[in-house]
């Protein structure tokens, strides 16, 4: 099955998609409710060809879409969550963790590792909304921090693909402290003049948005993603008035000066490649003629 129109993209293997795609040939767009032929939807990277709605990608799909085939080497797979506060609401947190693991087929809400993007070596983190809403607890904070530390150690650029509803409430104050831990990690990378590109996908809000996601040298967002600090429902309840149209969507956030560029998903890899080509002055990370056809990269070597 050919997925992508351009050769620079890695083709996703069918099994990786199995979980998210309903049986049969048809898929109903969550936004415009049009019935789509699954093949069209998949070939369009899970973007509705009718209304451009960007459906969620899981971490594996995103990795397959962004990095060169076979180059992703996952790190820190042994860093796992624990219910250190013995938090119980309607269910114990440890049970919620188990359910999330099954549901998302992930050990936590992020995968991190080394990868190449059109030949550029990077350390990458990819969040997954299916794991407790992509919320940041100790493990997400730790793995994000290690992405920046690894990059600092190896003198590599960082790319983070973010999606998160915010802090992991069941880890209470410890989740808040991950905002400090990850932001400090960004600060240290920045001091070493290594590039960090933050990619915001639908939705990226609250604690993640108020820490590493907002601190990219360049901040890229997918079309029409929900981006902000407080959730729209909380704001609506507080101010008791109708929110403006498009409030907290990518286009709104860019208009107010907090995004560098909004992209259609199909352009993400190209945009990342270009950005890396501008900032990666180190010979080690420099592209060495490995760019696929169609990658708009200026070769300097």
């Amino acid at each position: 099955m050919t997925w992508f129109r351009k050769e620079q993209f890695t083709v996703l293997k069918a099994p990786q998609l199995k979980d998210r795609i309903p049986d049969g040939l048809w898929y109903k767009c969550d936004n415009c409710l049009n019935i789509l032929y699954i093949k069209d939807f998949m070939q369009n990277l899970k973007v509705c060809p009718r209304c451009n709605f960007h459906a969620r990608l899981n971490a594996d799909e995103r990795i397959a879409m962004v990095v060169d085939e076979g180059t992703f080497q996952e790190i820190d797979t042994n860093v796992l969550p624990t219910d250190s506060l013995k938090f119980v609401d309607s269910k114990p947190y440890c049970e919620r963790l188990e359910t999330a693991k099954q549901k998302a087929n992930m050990t936590e809400a992020i995968k991190t590792g080394f990868a190449e993007i059109n030949g550029y070596k990077v350390v990458i983190g990819v969040m997954d909304f299916a794991f407790i809403g992509g919320s940041m607890g100790s493990v997400v904070g730790e793995k994000v921090t290690r992405v920046f530390e690894t990059a600092l150690d190896k003198k590599l650029p960082v790319t983070m693909v973010c999606t998160s509803g915010g802090a992991r409430m069941q880890e209470a104050i410890l989740s808040l402290m991950q905002m400090a831990k990850t932001s400090i990690a960004v600060a240290r990378l920045s001091e070493a003049r290594l590039p960090y590109i933050s990619v915001l996908t639908n939705p990226t809000t609250a604690g993640v948005m108020a820490s590493f996601a907002s601190l990219g040298d360049v901040i890229v967002a997918e079309l029409n993603a929900l981006i902000g600090f407080a959730g729209p429902r909380v704001i609506q309840q507080t101010i008791n008035q109708i929110l403006p149209k498009g409030f907290q969507r990518s286009e709104f956030v860019l208009e107010h000066g907090f995004l560098d560029i909004i992209i259609h998903r199909r352009d993400l890899k190209k945009v990342l490649t270009n950005l890396l080509s501008y900032f990666c002055l180190d010979q080690n990370t420099r592209l060495k003629g490995k760019a696929g056809k169609g990658a708009d990269v200026i070769e300097v070597i």
Binding site: L80, V139, E171, L174, A187, A206, A230, I235, F258
Partner: protein, 318 residues
């Protein structure tokens, strides 16, 4: 002036009233005087019993007491020559936070204080100490001045959270908080953070990164308010007392979690019952930590901050 009180304080208030009534009689009758002595003893016992065993939710209520001393009260009790400076030089001044310079024991320092009101009118003017992006940016501007002139920074935290409003989002609340955290990490001067009342979410952390983090005995600090957490996880705000238990948000809990370095004791029944005593306790803690921190080099201060927050969180590593 009678202080307003909470249900759990009823026995204390009743005894205090009885005593007051007896005292008003100015009786020399030995029977009355004996009764008075008995009641006073009983009052002390009751206070110890109630205030010595406060639940997390009761502490949250104390932390919100309208008469609790706020940043400007402590500033006037602790510092001299306080001068407030206004504005973020970009958009506006945010009255939810006061920033400026003052002397402490004769030495200059910068002070950042989230500021609640004494009454509804002032609270509306100060937005209940819920900062807007311009507040974080004003605070950072003053902290950078402190950095430039090598002055220590004292931050007083007292906020129910960042403000969830349209303007706050339009002006990049998330960016303002993230940037503050990152920039505060890099400052070359000592930062002492004191949570004096409420410390909720990014609203608190956005000015709350410190070399040491101190906390008044009845203050609370968490990723979300107990009500907010209750409405999300229990779908019922009335579950706030249970949520306050689960969230481990008291000063003692936070010492165990290594988020807070030291608890500053409050007068029995809360800081509002004796603001001068509360301020005196803060003074002692400030003197101690300033003496230690001002001896450190800029590099050390930075490295200490990096290491402090690097260690936070609990994961399993197989």
């Amino acid at each position: 002036m009678a202080l307003s009180s909470f249900d759990f304080e009823k026995p204390v208030v009743e005894l205090e009233q009885k005593i007051e009534n007896l005292q008003a009689k100015e009786s020399t009758n030995p029977e009355v005087r004996k009764e008075l002595e008995g009641l006073e003893e009983q009052l002390e016992e009751t206070k110890k019993q109630i205030y010595g065993n406060l639940t997390p939710w009761q502490r949250v209520q104390l932390a919100r007491h309208i008469a609790r001393p706020h940043s400007l009260d402590y500033i006037s009790l602790l510092f001299s020559d306080w001068m407030e400076l206004h504005g973020d030089r970009t958009f506006a001044d945010d009255p939810a936070v006061v920033c400026g310079f003052a002397h402490f024991d004769g030495a200059p320092l910068a002070v950042i204080g989230q500021q609640k009101g004494k009454d509804t009118k002032e609270n509306l003017a100060r937005n209940f100490a819920m900062m807007h992006p311009e507040g974080y940016r004003k605070a950072l501007r003053i902290m950078k001045l402190a950095d430039k002139f090598a002055l220590p920074i004292v931050v007083l935290i007292d906020t129910p959270g960042a403000y969830p409003g349209i303007g706050a989002e339009e002006r990049g609340q998330a960016e303002a908080i993230a940037r503050n955290i990152k920039e505060m990490a890099l400052l070359r001067v000592p930062i002492i953070v004191i949570i004096i009342g409420e410390g909720a979410s990014g609203g608190a952390l956005g000015v709350g990164l410190g070399n040491v983090v101190l906390m008044l005995e009845n203050a609370w600090y968490c990723v979300i308010s107990p009500e907010g957490c209750a409405s999300i996880l229990w779908r019922d705000r009335a579950m706030a007392p249970q949520s306050a238990d689960a969230l481990k948000l008291t000063a003692r809990d936070l010492i165990e979690l290594k988020v807070v370095d030291e608890v500053i004791p409050e007068p029995l029944g809360g800081a509002h019952r004796n603001p001068e005593e509360a301020a005196k306790n803060i003074r002692v803690a400030l003197q101690k930590h300033l003496a230690i921190l001002t001896k450190k080099t800029p590099k050390q201060l930075q490295a200490d901050r990096f290491a402090k927050y690097r260690a936070m969180g609990v994961v399993i590593e197989n």
